[in-house]
């Protein structure tokens, strides 16, 4: 027996509702996006955060030992924070590079989560650099 | 090097321009109209033919599904009836169209 009103519309409406529901559920429990902070914003956000900035030397220590130590500066600014990092160091890591990592501020030093360091790849498509 | 490249470029350009102008060069008479595709009668007939083919294909597929065991005997009998009806309707619509067409041609010829 053919239905007069197509159930297709009902299916679509219910599906959209279901997707939105799943979405809301996910974001309220797991929280999809992590705020990415600059060193100047660290003081206002205690706890586990994602930090982005530019590496400033000197770089010392052993990431596979006691920890790699360097300073991270705001990409557009002057605020800095000392960082100690353990874990794998990407090949592109060096002073001047933009990086981001997770961790938390402890006693004025940003202690990074192990293996969380990510560098921005140097530009493939960049305009000519002088 | 410069002269050779320039010559090559010029030659290529001429060849390409000729290629683009080819339709006009081959057929200078301005019988410029396209095909008679925008014949609404043909378009309607095509759509009816497509409906007929869809109905026939659906029957064929039902039969195959039944033979491979995807559709049970009871379901087969139930689904067969509306499909047969649709195929018959499509064929009938085509015949009516055809008859109408013949009628029009006869009228035109007579007048």
């Amino acid at each position: 027996m053919a239905k007069r009103r197509s159930p297709a519309r009902l299916v679509v409406a219910l599906s959209i509702a279901a997707v939105l529901a799943v979405f809301l559920l996910y974001t309220s429990f797991a929280g999809g996006a992590t705020p990415s902070l600059r060193p100047s914003q660290l003081a206002d956000h205690p706890g586990d955060v994602s930090l982005a900035g530019r590496v400033v030397g000197p770089v010392s220590g052993d990431a596979r030992g006691d920890g790699l130590r360097f300073t991270l500066r705001d990409i557009d600014g002057t605020a800095t924070v000392p960082v100690v990092y353990t874990g794998s160091v990407p090949d592109l890591f060096e002073t001047g590079r933009h990086i981001y990592m997770r961790g938390e501020l402890r006693n004025g030093v940003f202690v990074a989560e192990k293996d969380s360091l990510v560098t921005k790849c140097p530009s493939k498509y960049e305009p000519k650099e002088s | 090097m410069e002269a050779a490249a320039l010559l090559l470029a010029a030659g290529l350009t001429i060849a390409l321009v000729l290629f683009v102008a080819r339709p006009f060069l081959r057929d200078p008479v301005s019988r410029a109209d396209r095909s008679d595709e925008d014949d609404p009668a043909a378009a309607e007939r095509l759509s009816l033919l497509e409906e007929r083919d869809r109905a026939l294909a659906a029957l064929k597929e039902l039969e195959f599904d039944h033979r491979t065991g995807k559709v049970s005997d009871t379901d087969y009998r139930e689904l067969l009836r509306p499909l047969r009806r649709e195929a018959a309707e499509a064929l009938r619509a085509l015949e009516t169209k055809e008859a109408g067409q013949r009628e029009r041609v006869r009228t035109n010829v007579r007048s």
Binding site: V11, A30, S50, D91 | M1, F19, V20, R45, E50, R67
Partner: protein, 660 residues
């Protein structure tokens, strides 16, 4: 020489603009010769772009550093293969590759479908011309590969992670996919423009979409293999925005390939199909915008470049024009047929589409959200793998299940009882497989276990389909099993090719779950002579040394691999320091054990002054099934794509009958 290149591009632009403008006029005023001429202009545009491409290849091969582009992307010591691949390693060159592939595909589409384009879909020519014109304008005015300079002593070299054989094939494959989606878009819009929405545009569109979709899927897997081997973090897909840029149009195209079958059988979902085709094309443009504009943080990230606003503008124009055209034609597009039952093959396709589109939108949101957040709230955010993994599971698992149920449910209306009977055998197999895997310890990853159970269900359903079909055919026509099988597949290539593709997806699932859910890892600092153990292997550091490669200093740690106290081989892992580029890259060692179906993945993380090496070693089970899946995927697609002479005859015959 650069003048020849520049001139060729200007000529290409002129020809393509002619194709767009004259083609538009010809389509509007129904002028046959002008339309033919415009179509020829597309082919001529391809020739001109080809000349420009040859100029660039010649400059690369000759290491001509007076070309800025060559100097920026190569160096004297760079091996010739990579030097030639540098064609598409930068902005301008990759745009040229895009234009080359676009004009090439457009030419093929128009040439192979001359009759269709001339009589039914004249607007195809101006639409293709307009899209190509955009890229030609960029190449001539904004980003030219033919800028010159005083030649430096040596070039800057190629980014180390690009110095990999995959660089030679991954971008062209990917572009054939991305760019290929322009063709079905043009056909669909042309059909709307001239109100010719009969079956012919569907057949043409479907085949091109299948081809582009195959290239795109294969290109994505090539990229994944590259990431696995070259970037070398141990994984194969990072949900990086640029990876997602290729995935989104692929998902939407997959949805289209399924829903188009509903349109063919029931003349339903016509508006939806046009929206999907336009959406896939729009997403491919959006994807390339993301990759080039520097707007997104990604491992492929590029600095802010002036190309971004151009792309955004173009995407806006394309979106507006498509939406307008669809709305105008909405009355004639609306289908009169209705969905009869929620338990039917049509409904299964509808569910499949909903999940695929939901997944595509989820990925899109994940990519776009950081931009939106920064622009609106001023808060920078990053969306990581957990977000994507969650939705991949939530939307992906039902999709896998549908791959098994769909083929087994009848069209129109299926009684639940009949469906239950059909599903009994595959479901039984799946439960047994699931129980077995649980006993083997697969319960450590619940999502993985469910995935494997569903996958077994799908494979059983596919085997059932092939078996029942062959048996029915044999009963009909006699002949042996093999002949019946060949006949079965030959007569219904799309269906059985499609089943092979489904099998490929299951293989991919098995591999992905294997490496994602069941891999083991160990890291340790080893002095020469010391060992570490992981997943049943013991690796002993023999020593490390430095060798001079073609254009790099190669630092390697040599390790002996033992299994159950017997040496089975050696591996060397470490880093390359590239001299011209002054950059280091990770060179992992991968030892594949085909019998055990696993990869031993060794990363030489840190080389210390005292001769000790810090190593990270992973054992990745079943990962090679992912690459095997790629091959099965292409094979299945080829079967599905194979031209069917009988269908061509039927279409031609029907047309002749209509015209009579």
């Amino acid at each position: 020489m650069p003048e020849l290149g520049r001139a060729a591009l200007v000529a290409a632009l002129g020809l393509i603009l002619y194709a767009a403008l004259a083609g538009g006029y010809a389509a509007f005023c129904r002028r046959r010769r002008l339309l033919d001429s415009a179509a020829n202009a597309l082919l001529a545009g391809f020739a001109a772009t080809g000349v420009a491409s040859l100029v660039l290849f010649a400059a690369l091969a000759g290491r001509d550093f007076t070309f800025e582009y060559v100097a920026r992307g190569t160096s004297r010591e760079l091996p010739m293969g990579y030097t030639l691949a540098a064609f598409w390693s930068g902005q301008a060159g990759s745009l040229l590759l895009w234009l080359l592939v676009l004009t090439g595909s457009a030419s093929a589409a128009v040439a192979l479908n001359r009759g269709l384009v001339r009589d039914v879909l004249p607007w195809t020519v101006p639409i293709l011309g307009a899209v190509a014109a955009f890229f030609a304008i960029l190449l001539v005015f904004v980003a030219s590969p033919f800028a010159t300079q005083a030649a430096p002593a040596d070039g800057a070299g190629m980014t180390p992670s690009l110095q990999n054989p995959y660089m030679m094939i991954h971008p062209p494959m990917l572009y054939l996919g991305f760019v290929g989606l322009t063709i079905p878009f043009a056909f669909a819009m042309a059909a709307l423009a001239s109100k010719r929405m009969d079956e012919r545009w569907i057949v043409a569109t479907r085949r091109w979409t299948l081809a582009a979709w195959t290239f795109l899927g294969f290109g994505i897997l090539l990229g994944a293999k590259w990431a696995y081997e070259e970037v070398g973090w141990g994984g194969w897909y990072a949900w990086d925005p640029v990876e997602n840029a290729a995935l989104m149009p692929w998902l939407v195209a997959t949805a289209f390939l399924h829903s188009v079958m509903v349109q063919e059988k029931k003349n339903m979902l016509r508006v939806w199909n046009v929206v999907l085709v336009a959406g896939a094309f729009g997403l491919s443009l959006f994807g390339t915008f993301l990759t080039r504009s520097g707007v997104i943080n990604s491992i492929h990230s590029f600095t802010q470049s002036s190309i971004g606003p151009w792309f955004l503008g173009f995407i806006a124009v394309v979106a507006a024009a498509s939406i307008a055209l669809i709305l105008v034609r909405l009355p004639s597009l609306r289908s009169r047929t209705r969905l009869e039952s929620l338990v039917s093959r049509e409904a299964a396709f509808l569910y499949n589409n909903l999940f695929l589109v939901a997944l595509a939108l989820t990925v899109l949101w994940g990519v776009v959200y950081p931009l939106v957040s920064e622009a609106v709230r001023g808060v920078a955010v990053t969306v990581g793998a957990p977000y994507y993994d969650f939705f991949a599971v939530v939307f992906g698992l039902p999709l896998v299940l549908l791959m098994g149920i769909g083929p087994l449910v009848a069209w129109r209306r299926a009684s639940l009882r009949a469906l239950g009977v059909s599903l009994l055998w595959p479901a039984g197999v799946a439960l047994v497989a699931g129980a077995l895997l649980l006993a083997l310890g697969a319960g450590s990853s619940p999502a993985g276990l469910v995935g494997y159970t569903f996958g077994s269900f799908v494979l059983a359903a596919i085997v059932l389909e092939f078996a029942r079909g062959t048996r029915a055919r044999k009963a009909l026509g006699g002949g042996g099993w093999l002949a019946s099988f060949a006949g079965l597949v030959g007569r219904n290539r799309r269906r059985y090719g499609g089943y092979l593709v489904h099998a490929a997806i299951v293989l991919l699932l098995v591999g992905a779950v294997g490496i994602g859910g069941f891999s083991t890892t160990t890291e340790a600092r080893l002095a020469p002579g010391e060992s570490l153990e992981v997943g049943g292997y013991r690796l002993q550091l023999l020593g490390s040394d430095q060798r001079r490669g073609a254009n790099a200093e190669e630092l390697r740690a040599d390790l002996a691999v033992f299994r159950e106290d017997e040496q089975v081989g050696t591996v060397s892992a470490g880093k390359n320091r590239y001299l011209a580029e002054q950059q280091t890259s990770n060179e992992v060692a991968i030892r594949t054990d085909w019998l055990r179906g696993e990869d031993l993945f060794v990363i030489g993380d840190q080389f210390n002054e005292d001769g000790s090496v810090f190593l990270k070693v992973l054992v990745n089970p079943l990962v090679n099934l992912i690459w095997l899946a790629g091959l099965v995927f292409v094979g299945g697609s080829l079967v599905a794509m194979w031209p069917d002479a009988r269908e061509q005859r039927r279409l031609a015959g029907r047309l002749a009958l209509a015209r009579a």
